[in-house]
């Protein structure tokens, strides 16, 4: 890492989906729900993983696996809670890892070779010492946004 004192850093919450490590800026994460009970919603758009119960509210949670066309998760998933213009929403991920400090200087945009859908979902990646941390912007994961951007 070429992290220097001058390069601004930010804290990202690392989450794992399949073999990939993703990072979400921690400022966007309201709460992390560990393997909450979920309720599937029949006829929902494909990217909706189900409903989760969060502090008296019922949140719609987006499934990153479904969004990326992956197989269903083998085990119960964790949920990140974000705030969007349409209210709160959740994001299903396989598991939530540690909080990492990443430097803006280490950030690279999406490679041109990336498939279109991922091109639109990902916000580039940070180069960690031994691997890549794909950057996720909660804004791009809002259910309303997804419904418009990726209709079934």
């Amino acid at each position: 890492m070429k992290e220097t004192a001058a390069s601004p850093t930010q804290e990202v919450c690392s989450v794992r989906v399949g073999d990939t490590l993703y990072g979400v800026p921690i400022v966007h994460v309201l709460e992390i729900l560990g393997k909450p009970a979920t309720q599937p919603v029949p006829l929902a758009p494909y990217f909706v993983g189900g409903l989760v119960h969060y502090r008296g509210e019922v949140l719609t949670a987006v499934s990153l696996r479904r969004l990326l066309g992956m197989d269903p998760a083998p085990a119960p998933e964790d949920v990140l809670v974000f705030e969007s213009s349409d209210g709160l929403f959740g994001l299903f991920v396989d598991s939530v890892g540690e909080v990492l400090h990443v430097a803006a200087a280490d950030h690279e945009p999406n490679p041109a070779t990336l498939e279109n859908r991922r091109q639109a979902l990902f916000d580039g990646a940070w180069k960690l010492r031994d691997r890549l941390l794909v950057s996720l912007e909660p804004e791009r994961l809002e259910p309303m946004h997804l419904a418009g951007a990726f209709p079934a």
Partner: protein, 772 residues
């Protein structure tokens, strides 16, 4: 803004609200000393506080008002409509300034207009001779204009009711006005504590609050204070939050109750927790309830202004003002009600001449009534005007291309009336300032349906119209039945649940009948369409022989059976909104968290019925046939004497298994006594020839125009959709035959069954019994 000013604003708003109510009342009882004292007090309080806070405009205005009111109170002046109008516009002006203080912190500058206002009030003080000599209701604005002509140009704002498009700040007759201070509407019985509430207009104090005794006119406003001391303003947001937390607490309690059933001591504690929680929930809900008078109180003014503006005479009666409704719902019905009242006065009530000509009192009546009905509050707007002309509605709807002329011809009265709720509908001959722009009734319906309510309309030509809003008591909590489908919970609102039928496992119930892919259930002789929840939601299939339950639902007149895997207990559920992407699915009205901590989706029976193509039944059975306009009709397929025959399904009233002995002979013809009527019977199955009087025979009772007829059949085979056949070559529709299951089948001609010539069926009707 400092607390003192904020407090002053709230207090003054309340004072003005009270003043508005009293002023409109004053017109009917001009000499009422208590009313006058109350109004005087409101203005006086404002004046007193403003001087202290340094709001000079408010002080000058309220001072002028106070002078005029002083004369009224002393009886030196009688409250003429001109004076009331003047005071009302003073009130508007005061309100405007309060609003300006609220938003900008300052009174704003318009001294000139204030001058005009004050001059008007002064003129009223001195011009009692003029005012008393000409107490003409309609001459309000003009009167004043003459009194102070030189101020007219700058003093536009105090225009009378004839000028509803006044310039801001305080728009006239403004009911759906800019948002008022949220706290102002918080449950606070203080405004109800007015001394000497007028009969028929009394804001009966809510249980728990102390109604102020009618005080003498001279009494200082102490009685108001004592009620105010026992109440507290609470931010509505905070109440919402509390409601949410209480919901959470209820869930946690339920989980604790389930977890701690083993330990006796703990069980006792958790039971107490249970009780406290239930009480708490109820209290929070109560805190959100407000009497409908909060909304009603603005209508006397509205009615007065509208009537004056339209040259009509209208009396407003209000009933059931103490009926309570959740605050958010109350807010939500404010606009629909205002619309409805406008409509009633503009379209409903006729001009006095027309009314007299029609033999009605010159003064029209608009009755506003609120009452509880089960878990709903009904709010009715009743006018005794001209009623809605079915023909005009039909005409207009065709003219505006809302329905085709052909369709309009076929519609019955009830359906025609529903057309007024279509967007863009208006029968007003001319667009008036009040209504006729084609927005209104559709907005009323949309707004009411948004909060889970319904709108009904009844109208009789020449007698008037009743518009009925059916509002759920509270948005937040509804009773629901929890059902299972493929391992998932769903909540069915109790409001639409009619009955439940259990189907045991192992056998396919013969009452479920299949027509291709569509299932029907025979409920007391009626065929009810069935909807399989798992199919509808594209869940995994189930075996036909599995046990299941049918929830028979009535969604806005559409009846159908919803097949689910099983039932759980009924529960009071807290409705949680769904994200927009899930609302779009349409079948879900929300989600909820059950007592056991699981989640459930709340089904929307109306949307399910609509999607499944369930048509309106019961009262609108006649219209059923018209739903199948595209040459497609449903038939009851029966076997008569070895041959299949088809009966149009919409004519079928009932299918009965009866012993032959019940069929009697009237002369040479068989008749059946059915529901108190005598039915002419067509023995199509030739089953009556048999000897055994106890043998069962099947009779299909059908409707043929106005009469009912019966037909014996050997067996009922099916219900199926048939297509009209076109004659080869000519393309003309063939009568009397249809294509069922790809076989040409004869359609029974019911009109061919001879009537009981001499003995009409009606004459045989038994008293007290009705045709079903």
């Amino acid at each position: 803004m400092d607390d003192l000013t904020r407090e002053f604003l709230l207090e003054s708003q309340e004072g003005l609200d009270r003043m508005e109510r009293c002023l409109t009342d004053l017109e009917t009882r001009p000499g009422d000393a208590e009313l006058l004292a109350d109004i005087f007090r409101s203005v006086h309080t404002i004046k007193g506080t403003t001087g202290f806070l340094g709001f000079s405009r408010l002080e000058a205005l309220s001072h002028a008002g106070e002078n005029l009111l002083g004369l009224l109170r002393e009886g030196e002046l009688a409250a003429t409509p001109e004076i009331v109008s003047g005071l009302l516009s003073l009130m508007d002006r005061l309100r405007g300034i309060l609003r300006s203080i609220e938003s900008t912190g300052a009174e704003g500058e318009s001294q000139q207009q204030d001058g005009a206002m004050i001059a008007r009030l002064d003129a009223l003080q001195h011009g009692e001779a003029v005012a008393l000599a000409e107490p003409v209701l309609t001459a309000v604005a003009e009167e004043v204009v003459h009194a102070i002509p030189q101020k007219r140009r700058s003093g536009r704002k105090r225009a009378g009711p004839r000028n509803p498009q006044g310039a801001p700040p305080p728009p006239r007759g403004e009911e759906a006005g800019p948002p008022r201070i949220p706290e102002e509407a918080a449950p606070n019985p203080a405004p109800e504590a007015e001394p000497g509430p007028a009969p028929g207009f009394s804001n009966a104090a809510r249980p728990g609050s102390v109604p102020a005794p009618p005080s003498s006119p001279e009494a200082p406003p102490a009685s108001g204070n004592s009620a105010a001391d026992s109440t507290l303003r609470v931010d509505a947001e905070l109440l919402n939050r509390m409601m949410n937390l209480v919901g959470e607490l209820v869930l946690t309690r339920n989980q604790i109750l389930q977890a701690t059933s083993s330990d006796a001591g703990f069980a006792l504690l958790s039971r107490r927790l249970d009780m406290v929680t239930a009480d708490l929930r109820e209290s929070v809900m109560k805190a959100r309830m407000q009497p409908v008078s909060h909304v009603f109180s603005r209508f006397p003014r509205l009615v007065r202004d509208l009537a004056l503006g339209l040259d009509k005479r209208v009396r407003l009666e209000m009933e059931g003002q103490e009926t309570e409704l959740d605050k958010s719902l109350l807010e939500a019905i404010r606009d629909p009600l205002t619309h409805s009242i406008r409509n009633a006065i503009d379209h409903g009530i006729e001009r006095p001449e027309a009314r007299v000509a029609a033999g009605k009192p010159a003064e029209g009546l608009v009755r506003l009534r609120a009452c509880h009905e089960g878990s709903h509050v009904i709010v009715e707007v009743h006018d005794d005007g001209a009623g809605i002309s079915i023909d005009r509605v039909r005409e207009k709807a065709v003219e505006r291309q809302l329905v085709t002329a052909q369709r309009a011809e076929q519609m019955n009265e009830r359906e025609i009336l529903q057309l007024i709720f279509l967007p863009g509908f208006s029968t007003a001959a001319a667009v008036t300032s009040v209504s006729g722009r084609g927005v209104g009734m559709d907005v009323v319906r949309t707004n009411v349906e948004k909060i889970g309510g319904k709108v009904e309309v009844e109208s009789r030509a020449g007698e008037g119209t009743i518009l009925r809003l059916r509002i759920p008591l509270t948005l937040a909590i509804i009773p629901a039945l929890i059902v299972h489908s493929r391992g998932q919970n769903f909540a069915v609102p109790q409001a639409s649940l009619m009955e439940l039928v259990h189907m045991s496992a192992g056998e396919e119930d013969p009452r479920i009948e299949w027509l291709e892919n569509a299932a029907l259930y025979r409920l007391r002789g009626h065929l009810l369409p069935l909807v399989f929840l798992n199919r509808l939601l594209q869940q995994p299939a189930r075996e036909r022989t599995d046990a299941c339950d049918i929830a028979i639902l009535n969604a806005d007149g559409r009846r159908f059976g919803l097949i689910v895997d099983g039932l759980a207990d009924p529960e009071e559920i807290v409705v949680k909104p769904l994200a927009a992407v899930l609302r779009e699915i349409g079948y879900y009205a929300g989600a909820t968290i059950l007592g056991n901590g699981e989640m459930a989706l709340i089904l929307n029976p109306g949307a399910i019925a609509q999607n499944a193509g369930v048509s309106l039944t019961t009262e609108t059975e006649e219209s059923l046939g018209q739903e199948n306009r595209a040459g497609h009709e449903d038939f009851l397929l029966v076997e008569t004497d070895g041959r299949p025959a088809a009966l149009p399904l919409e004519t079928v009233v009932r299918i009965e298994r009866i012993p032959r002995s019940r069929i009697e002979q009237a002369g040479s013809r068989p008749v059946l006594r059915f529901d108190g009527m005598l039915l002419p019977l067509d023995d199509a199955a030739a089953s009556l020839a048999g000897a055994d009087p106890e043998a069962q025979t099947t009779v299909v009772v059908c409707r043929d125009g106005q009469r009912h007829v019966g037909m014996t059949v050997s067996q009922v085979l099916d219900v199926t959709g048939g297509r009209q056949l076109e004659e080869a070559g000519t393309g003309a529709l063939a009568n009397g035959i249809t294509l069922l299951h790809d076989r040409v089948t004869g359609v029974v001609s019911l009109s061919a069954i001879p009537s009981l010539d001499s003995v009409s069926e009606r004459e045989y009707s038994l008293p007290g019994e009705e045709t079903r």
